[in-house]
Symmetry: C2
Subunit: 219 residues, 2 copies
Amino acid sequence: MKINENSALVILSGGQDSTTALFWAKEKFQEVETITFDYGQRHKRELGCAKKIAEIADVPNKLVSITSLSQLSDNAMVNETEIKENEETLLPTTFVPGRNLLFVTMAAAYAYEKRIPNLIIGVSQVDYSGYPDCREETMKSLEETINLGMEFPFKLHTPLIYKTKKETVLLAKKLGALEYLKYSHTCYKGKFPPCGECPACKLRTKGFEEAGIADPLLL
Amino acid sequence: MKINENSALVILSGGQDSTTALFWAKEKFQEVETITFDYGQRHKRELGCAKKIAEIADVPNKLVSITSLSQLSDNAMVNETEIKENEETLLPTTFVPGRNLLFVTMAAAYAYEKRIPNLIIGVSQVDYSGYPDCREETMKSLEETINLGMEFPFKLHTPLIYKTKKETVLLAKKLGALEYLKYSHTCYKGKFPPCGECPACKLRTKGFEEAGIADPLLL
């Protein structure tokens, strides 16, 4: 098989982390593409953000619809459930079971077709809101699964896995990606200007504050 | 979390193997449900078969649409590509990259929501047409990935993994599932009566012949 070792596919949600991961990939690989998933999220606004960011970063963006994910489970990301800790699972009600596993697997199916071996996802197990599918252990296991399941030498890169939000902001600055974060979306409630009160908004605000940088989204 | 150890979710395609796996599950677990995926397959007929089989087996059947899978890759399962060996990958052109990985991950997301720990898939690495996502090694890795990714004690059962088609036919007989195979669908071309010539039809015919049993579908 003709594999281009210098090509990469970035899972781009349109949020702060995946935007930063995109610019990390652009520095590291010659050919970069992006893939974005519409899973029926409440904050649909991020889909337009992903498109816009890909456009100005001059990389292709493939939009894939898996809205059936919202039929499978009941959570605050796809419906109006209150955003808090689930009393039974002790995970946030914003946890979408299987989300990152599905994203990476679908991205891998697309990358397989295009013979792209490098996959990039901007998850962090430091500021990860308690989602078990943002941990390095999960990503390592998933990398092995997609390699075995498609007989293809995928490498799953997680450049932000050990970074706090503050460190991610500083990395974005270093990569020259700060101005692009103006177009990123973070608010779980899908609001613009951001609500400033949901866990995602709070985490973003804290990261920029600790980095001593003004959030371009709010300028 | 309240987990019902005696509940199971079967991935039911409507084919011979998953129908047999369903009856295996019905013997082993008290509460059995099924899940079926519409991925834009050429042989759409199997979706109706799955529904019918679930009905007469008296188990719930959840139909999930992930037709975007057919946008991600180009293969003989979702389009009119000729069914043969792919000269570049050496895999059959009917290989849908990531298919079983996606099915199991989506089934797991649904099972998580219903607190069902047992997942059943009727793959076989003996008569597996060379699909890498039908091997035990892949399924073991996938089981670990979904456990880690959802922090849930899933057990992924593969009752047919070491069985030839002949042995699967004999198992169906033992389980009293033979008559249900009348409603199953196998033909890759989606034909009824089956074409008898595609690799799936040939494998089915061989299995019944070797078992010395008439295929109820053809009676």
